[in-house]
């Protein structure tokens, strides 16, 4: 039973990682950028969600505000930071992205204070749900539900809508897509909007889960997100989902069995390094 519980907790964390990593893999798939600054979007979503929730006492409103603000910041980062340097070697965008992350993290600290803020009223945090001997709180349930619904919605969008087809066409070949009348620019903005909105929602959920929103909350999860998208085979969406869940489970078991040897954050990277030495293109191989 204990192991089942570890497995379930691991899968819940896996869903959190999936919300972050899907956005990272979307950006990488389209532009070959390791978008570390996604952490900033995640943290902004969490702060805006918290401020709105504390002001209005309405979580739905908080989620809407977080989605919109995060969804705006992502395309803004693309426009101001990445677009002018797309033709430069890949480390240029990576270093710029790290610059955004470091600077904005400090910005959050200066604006909102270093110690983090809590929700005045966090009903999901205290409410629990028992199923077959495993107790989860409502935030964890919502986390899983949000991941399943949002990722399914994204899959439907990519498979069924015109915009989704344009997006897939641009990912596989931007030049040909453009020749067929797809606006590559609009696809990029859309891509950043979706990636950032998902991260923003993830940010609010993680804030609720820990009942704490702090300036550095995004960075570790975004470093792990990078490990996940590499594990999944860079730009490979199904691979990213598998890797997110696998990492959640590995961390959950690892924090019990390997606790004396290394800390939780290092486990993700140990797992990454071991997998990559066996399969250099990630768990499901590269999409490219």
């Amino acid at each position: 039973m204990y192991y089942v519980e570890l497995l379930v907790i691991g899968l819940v964390w896996g869903c959190t990682y999936a919300l972050m990593a899907l956005g990272l893999t979307l950006v990488y798939g389209l532009l070959r950028i390791l978008h570390v600054a996604q952490a900033t979007v995640f943290t902004l979503g969490a702060y805006i969600g918290l401020l709105v929730a504390n002001r209005t006492d309405s979580l739905p409103l908080a989620f809407v505000a977080a989605t919109l603000s995060a969804g705006l910041l992502g395309p803004l980062i693309y426009r101001l930071v990445y677009e002018p340097i797309l033709d430069k070697p890949p480390f240029v965008a990576l270093v710029a992205s790290i610059g955004v992350l470091i600077g904005m993290e400090d910005g959050f600290r200066l604006i909102f204070g270093p110690y983090g803020l809590s929700f005045d009223d966090n009903p999901w945090f205290t409410a629990t749900w028992s199923l077959g001997g495993i107790t989860l709180n409502l935030v964890q349930i919502w986390m899983v539900a949000a991941a399943v619904v949002l990722l399914s919605a994204f899959a439907l969008f990519a498979a069924r809508t015109r915009a989704g087809v344009a997006w897939r066409a641009t990912v596989s070949d931007p030049v040909i897509a453009q020749n067929f009348g797809v606006s590559v620019m609009r696809v990029r903005y859309l891509n950043f909007f979706i990636a950032s909105a998902l991260a923003g929602i993830g940010g609010v959920l993680v804030g609720l889960l820990n009942n704490l929103v702090e300036p550095a909350m995004g960075s570790v999860i975004s470093y792990k997100g990078l490990a996940i998208i590499v594990l999944g085979g860079l730009g490979n969406v199904p691979g990213t989902l598998v890797a997110s869940l696998a990492l959640g489970v590995v961390e959950s078991f690892g924090s019990v069995f390997l606790d004396k040897v290394l800390d939780r954050d290092a486990m993700a990277f140990l797992f990454l390094i071991v997998v990559l030495m066996v399969r250099p293109k990630g768990l499901l191989g590269g999409a490219h």
Binding site: V95, V230, A266, M267, L272, P280, K281, G282
Partner: protein, 279 residues
Amino acid sequence: MDYYLSVATFAALNVVLALGLNMISGFCGQVSLGHAAFYGLGAYAAALCSVAGMPFVLSVLVGVVVAGAFGVVVGFAALRVRDDFLAIVTMGVGFLFLGVVRKQAWLGAEMGIARIPSPMGKGGYALMAIGAAIALVLLSLHVRRSWMGRAFDAVAQDEDAARTIGVDVAGYKTVAFLLGTASAGLAGAIYAHMTQLIVPDAFNFIQSITILAMVVVGGIGSTLGVVLGAVLLTVMPELFRFINDYKLLVYGALLLLVMRFSPEGFAGLYRRVTGRRLA
């Protein structure tokens, strides 16, 4: 006076670290986001030896060898994975180093290692660090002009093409990692003895990025540019002490602005102004 000496020592140590990383990422084209781990390996290995009573010179040597040996192991990883995959693996190496050190009682865990014996005064370390920095500059300039430097360049630009014309890609990558990480180990060993106290957080991801920033701001691949970048990024926070509160904000903005407007760093600026390449 002590203050100036310690700033000079740190600047020199950063030159050693940055030139080591430049060997790997600039000359040989293998992006590494975990250079601080080797700095840390050198520091911890040397500190342990000195605490155990080994003579200073021998401890420093152990630091260099341990960092270099782990560097070769990571170099082997670079034979297996490439480009962005390698960047994330090296980032992982940094986190793994910290994660392991933080949990080991014999490495001092979160508290680190204190009371490391120090055989000389501040001036001695300053001389030693500056000597190491000069040695690294000479080595870098020499490597760049040598056959090996050309081979590094070939690997950096197109490793498949390099392999086709008979360049020993695996061998040169390993040598680049060995040289780069061993020099980080040297810097770490000097650092540990000078401060007499090391904690895991001194070798975290931000430190790795700081070293990378020195390389990139100076101009990746250019020895003199990187020296300038390392010295400037060490001295600047000292000059701007009054903005201490906004240090990381300014730092992040600086990285972003350099990448946005002069992605080739100082070396790129120099070339645009004079039309000549900076060595």
